[in-house]
Amino acid sequence: MSKVILEVNELTTNYVTRFREKIYAVDHVSLKVEEGKSVGIAGESGCGKSTLALSLMGYYFAPLHYSSGEIIVDGRNISGMDPDDVRKTILGREISYIPQAAMNALNPTQRVINFIEDVIQAHYPKTTKKEIYELARERFELLGLPAEVLRKYPVELSGGMKQRTVIATSVILSPKVLIADEPSSALDVTSQKMVIKMIMDLMNKGIIKALIFITHELPLLYNVTDDIMVMYAGQIVERGTAEQMVFDPIHPYTRALMGSIIVPEAGLRDVKLAAIPGTPPNLKNPPSGCRFADRCKFVKPECRAISVGLRDAGEGRAYRCIIPEEDLRKAYQSEG
């Protein structure tokens, strides 16, 4: 077993509303990423994927608050640290985060190289401009970005190029963990592929050691990550390898998600895409039992009464359902 780079134990974070209500958008989430591995997080809009991404950085600002649990990056516990310390010593150096609209981070009045200077000098104020330029040029060339980009203004770059520039900048200090939150959703297929290739290069060339990739595009997740976790209403409902999760899901929610995949492959037109009825529960007062019960096809009366934890299904798989795995599989088979 290789070294664990990121370990999260029972992390819980909450939002505080105007009326002082607490909303637990990330509810006892645990995960472990080993060196050189990538974990994907899937789920509907509003299930807590992006909040989890923000929480994993250990950098909390209102209305998001830390509540309990721990985040261990390469043996160092960063949960509960002072936000200022986190910003100075963790972000960019240990953990980097790229949001969906990363390209908007570029300052339109600054050249790309000035933006990179800002990033590096915020962490290492003594670095000279020449050193920074050399480092940036080397890194850009390694990642297949032309070095001319450094001298350009953001308006001179295309959307995909801007996104790649910001990703390259965010990992310029070689952080251990990269959290990518829908990095390619705003792009078309070709630019998406270039962005993904770059993120894969970061992993293969050892610039980052672990990757957390968040998206609702399941075919993309399947192709990018080793493991997939599915989130629903702030909780993890199932985890396993990408292969298992896509072709052999256990939890009814995962199965429903996999039923909504659209890929241009023969046979797609013959299947009727399954939509999940209803909407996710309001986390202000989450249901007492299983949170998916209201939308589940296989719901039983006891589902609404007892809330179950993650159940182990062997080989690192786990699912959160009161119905045992064999019974679920039988139900799927009889359904066809």
């Binding site: 959307g159 894969m200 896509v246 909504s260 890929v263 241009p264 492959e265 895409l273 939509a275």
Partner: protein, 269 residues
Amino acid sequence: MKDNTVILSGRGVTKVFGFGANKTVAVDHVDFTFRKGEIISIVGESGSGKTTLAKMLLGLVSPTEGEIYFDGELRDIRTHKKKREYWKNIQAIFQDPFSSYNIFRKVDAVLLDCIRMRGGGNLPYDEKLEMMKRACSFVNLKFEELTNKYPFELSGGQQQRLMIARIFLLSPKILLADEPTSMIDACSRATILDMLMGLRNDIGMTPIFITHDIGLAYYVSDTVYIMEHGRFVESGTADQVILNPKEAYTRRLLSDVPKLHEEWDLSTV
């Protein structure tokens, strides 16, 4: 449901932006024939001219060259009155539903406007209510919960569904859907697509999808047009184009999409 009446067609439709050295040919002499009840997809990357073409079909942008025929006759939208008449026949859904609503108007006002546009302004209120309820139930929304809300209080999926309820009330002959699901997550996408296809089956509408998602195009459409640099490079039935692409460009588009049963080759970027 597909008959052979041509509902919309174009000959040599061209749009040029700018002139002289700054000339950009966004749409370059395209010919097309859309038949009634046929689901059409126009697939292309950003900058291929698909949105410009959509705007020309809608009459928001006038073509530099070429003719567009609607219902067998040359389309005439030179006056504002004629344009309004034309828009009764063609309606659109855009990528961002929120930017399509008037933020000061509540949901029922949005729907009542549609009834008025169809000439139902003088109907008794009960009848209008009945129509609105029917439209909402078509898209699985509860009318009672929505009436007193503003569009921003709805989720993205609900807003897009309300947009479809509008279309249901207006029942145009053609519906142009410009990236209707790219802002919606994968799970509600199937619902939206099924509703749009339901519109065709229920009121005989001709939906035209403009998208960069070739998987979506394959799932929904009868006929697919692939667009590159303002031209249609390939067209045919969905099975022909997606499963047996002839053009190199179509093959490249297909190879750029992550798939489940095929290796995604990242080396060909």
